[in-house]
Subunit: 456 residues, 2 copies
């Protein structure tokens, strides 16, 4: 095979620097998950197909990566079906497993399968890759990590409060200040649908309303009319066209507007509960904002809906999202288990931190000293010192080959190793080392104890 | 879907305790990889099929999980081929990607693809899952982690020395004392093949010799004769039947025995170099042993061969292995790049630590205090305290629901949370908390500052 090797489109190799930066983000998220009392689980990369299929809609089913059965898999396809050459139908006969498409469905499966071992409410986090046969584009990959925290087995709104605080804590620790945590409630959206008398137009309505900033009130109204929403309906939700003020003021407007909708009013009360909590529990750096156009996962969430956007200075879609789903595990036969959870978008957070130069200068441990290799005897003398330094947790390396000095120094330079250690027969006789500071260029002879002090 | 959900055979869910224990092992390995100057990379879970196929032999090709192309994949199969219904041939038309089978081939692909960004010698580590459609059995799974460290771009034997030391360091840190690092050299095996005059019988020879402990010299010789190895041949390697003593003594025996084989003698010298180093660089807890029956990866390794076995008190196969391969990247068109590396068997190490009870008592951070939920006002009072504790990195939680006291206490008990915090109207008025020590059962009223001190 002489052609230059490559990787499948939509996938990525990560270099040491990239792995270190990704680990930095994941470690911050993980430590906050733990601080908030979440416990990690892991599920297999592939699930039985019937666990995944039909859970993400028709589009989702198409985007799930299917794994071919082993052996003579075509043997199991009967002649009638085989002669149809129908890819979709034959797939179910030649593929029994599929790659994880998200972490939520495997988590629901886990909860049902292990329900007798779990103490509810169960607070779990999970950080694993997922795969989607999506068309790759900037910031969208076929393999990417999800970082999720969810609680199942309690309907308490204190959890929504905790999740807002968790978002605030993570982004504060990442020094990404000024993110906006947008919050909405599915019941408010249902209330709006009731008030406009057209639940089938709800998506069109929120999509149009979301353009208020860009196309103005008249533009939005025009789009709504075009989508078949009546003038009367638009008039009945007039307050949404001037939806400003504090979150409390916004809630008052909604309370007036949705007075006729029982479900809508319940949504208002739920949001009021969460927003009240933050009058006394301060957010460190995030901004909590009520956004009635927030309609993500409409077919999925039943209560709170969250979405986090990066500070305005960065052009980037949402960097996190989540919400409450009242019947998480029903699809696997365990009814009435409410869940609520949030997710962090690792790849986008990475791009934001990169753009704002928020990664710490050193995201990974790096070699403190490179010992130059002058030949077998000198190398052996150095390797003994290297091992003693490592016993003190100091990262040190011997250059493996007796290569030209220039090559060895170049290696230290390229890897930004701050000290180079040289030992020839003179140093060996004195039981010392000559240490070169690569930044200043100065050299000094010292014994191992002094070297340890220097490198610590 | 009412049937109880399950996962594909050979795969596993990991509970919070299991994830914590696995992370403990992986963190120890990772920190030693870093201390020895290795840098992490990650490669995609699936590769183009032609990157993987043909690299692991016929058996390997069968065990690679193939991913079905998306869309109307059968459309690409021409009628003649389709009518053959030949699973193997049709696979290449309906599947272009496959799940990673090990970390070595993707690493070789990575090195070739990124050769212009890499500073050689390149020391990389990689800890990611791999997948094999093997028949599942105890300790063998279809999805499992590999933890590999390799150096490419140098033929120096100092690296073999470093890898022995790395094994010693990792197992010492894991408190798994007394592992045996078995070492051999492919060239010694070639020398033996030369001396017995039958290179095609080498595997039969080493397999038989390996049974010396169990079936004795006569048994081994009988098996060798049955396999077609001549009496003369057996006579010529007589020293192997009484292959005892120090590693240096063993080397002397080999030197005599293999004097006629140039390659064999080179193997002896290479081993001598490594063994000499450990006369002055002490191993902390591991035992280095020369084992001429060690023939793992015979078609693959060209120099040193390593294998680590658990202490004799545990029945377990190898818990690590590796070696040198002189032409790692040749399969992808980059010639003459020597590599040497080792691997840690996470699942088996886990079983060994479990059996010997070597996991630390606390492998994961755990909740220090559970605040009882007596209703909205009390919960809010508690949640404010919970957030202040978290600011000090103390893991604290509010029970989300105003459930029966017994249920909340039961939750604390099951999760082994050491302190339960109670606050009713009296505590709220006093700005205090009543704290119950779950081990002793004693209770005490205190303010937040005292509570922080207690939990820290």
């Amino acid at each position: 095979m002489a052609q230059k090797p490559s990787i499948p489109k939509g996938t990525r190799d990560f270099s040491p620097v990239e792995v270190a930066k990704r680990s930095y983000i994941m470690n911050v998220i993980k430590s906050q998950f733990q601080l908030f009392g979440f416990h990690p689980i892991e599920t297999p990369s592939f699930e039985n197909s019937d666990t995944l299929m039909g859970k993400y809609g028709e589009e989702g089913d198409r985007l799930i990566f299917k794994i071919l059965n082993s052996g003579d898999f075509l043997n199991k396809v009967d002649e009638a079906l085989y002669s149809s050459k129908n890819s979709t139908k034959i797939t179910t006969k030649i593929s029994e497993k599929a790659l994880r498409y998200d972490l939520t469905v495997p988590f629901a499966r886990y909860v049902v399968q292990h329900q007798n071992e779990i103490d509810f409410p169960f607070k779990r986090y999970q950080m694993q890759p997922v795969w989607r046969a999506d068309r790759p584009q900037k910031g969208r990959f076929r393999e990417f990590y999800q970082c999720d925290a969810d609680v199942v087995g309690s309907t308490s709104l204190w959890q929504e409060v905790d999740f807002v605080k968790l978002y605030d804590a993570v982004f504060t620790k990442l020094k990404l200040e000024g993110v906006t945590i947008k919050i909405n409630n599915r019941k408010i959206l249902s209330g709006i649908a009731e008030v406009i008398g057209a639940s089938d137009k709800l998506i069109d309505f929120t999509v149009a309303l979301d353009k208020l900033d860009k196309i103005g009130e008249e533009g939005v109204k025009k789009e709504m009319l075009n989508k078949g929403i009546s003038e009367t309906a638009i008039e009945s939700v007039k307050p949404l066209f001037n939806f400003t003020g504090t979150t409390s003021e916004k809630l008052d407007k909604l309370r007036n507007m949705l007075a006729s909708s029982e479900e809508g009013m319940q949504g208002v009360e739920e949001l009021q509960f969460i927003i009240n909590a933050f009058k006394e529990i301060p957010l460190e750096t995030a901004i909590l904002d009520l956004d009635v156009t927030l309609a993500r996962g409409l077919n999925y969430y039943t209560g709170a809906i969250f979405e986090v956007s990066a500070p305005d200075t960065v052009k980037m879609g949402s960097i996190g999202g989540g919400g409450r789903y009242d019947d998480l595990t029903g699809i696997f036969g365990l009814k009435n288990i409410s869940g609520v959870g949030i997710s962090f978008g690792l790849d986008r957070i990475y791009l934001v931190l990169e753009e704002l130069e928020l990664f710490p200068e050193t995201v990974a441990p790096s070699t403190k000293a490179l010992f130059i290799n002058f030949g077998e005897e000198e190398a052996f003398y150095c390797l003994k010192a290297v091992n003693l330094l490592r016993n003190d947790n100091i990262i040190a390396e011997l250059y493996p080959d007796n290569a030209k000095m220039k090559k060895q120094m170049g290696y230290a330079n390229k890897r930004a190793i701050p000290y180079v250690v040289l030992a020839g027969s003179s140093e060996i006789n004195n039981n010392t080392f000559t240490v070169k500071d690569m930044r200043s260029g100065t050299q000094k002879e010292m014994d191992l104890k002094e070297l340890k002090e220097l490198l610590r």
